[in-house]
Amino acid sequence: GESVGLHLPTLSVQEGDNSIINCAYSNSASDYFIWYKQESGKGPQFIIDIRSNMDKRQGQRVTVLLNKTVKHLSLQIAATQPGDSAVYFCAETINNAGNMLTFGGGTRLMVKP
């Protein structure tokens, strides 16, 4: 079946640097994408979402970019902080799939002080 994947399983960055986490998706019908952050022992925490009629969306210190041509999604974190250390998942769904999200395998972000 269709799935969402990530290029890098682990990303290590220096505190204060910007982080970029990438995600490739294969279902061209997907029209809603979400990034989640998961800390150890906790459930996934919503970070930011984007719909397919947009190619960029910004939040507080985070930006999501969507390139539908190459089916690529990225999460940019500005001025990465130690508290950003976690596993990040991208997830996708299609319009009539309700809450049925397809998650990727996750990228672990490690922030070095």
Binding site: G1, Y32, P44, Q45, F89, T93, G98, N99, L101, F103
Partner: protein, 113 residues
């Protein structure tokens, strides 16, 4: 406001037993979804319920069942437990069950021995 709450937080069972996991959605949310997260992987969709009706089902055997109550809380039942059912079971809620933000609980960690 309370987030999505799940009980119990941890559970140990033996093969062949059954288990019931419980979830209370965020107040005002009518949709509840269940996900299974195996260590080192992204969550996998099991069920979605909206207004007490099953809206979606993932690729899980019939040993897995769920229901939603009039107060929108939900139970996930797993019969004839297998070692491979050991995982973190996540409950998520959303207001209307469509393509919208999905809020996760901290999960129930199930260990099958």
């Amino acid at each position: 406001d309370a987030g999505v709450t799940q009980s119990p937080t941890h559970l140990i069972k033996t093969r062949g037993q059954h288990v019931t996991l419980r979830c209370s959605p965020i107040s005002g949310h009518k949709s509840v979804s269940w996900y299974q997260q195996v260590l080192g992987q992204g969550p996998q969709f099991i069920f979605q319920y909206y207004e007490k009706e099953e809206r979606g089902r993932g690729n899980f055997p019939d040993r897995f069942s769920a229901r939603q109550f009039p107060n929108y809380s939900s139970e996930l039942n797993v019969n004839a437990l297998l070692l491979g059912d050991s995982a973190l079971y996540l409950c998520a809620s959303s207001p209307m069950g469509g393509n919208e933000k999905l809020f996760f609980g901290s999960g129930t960690q199930l260990s099958v021995l």
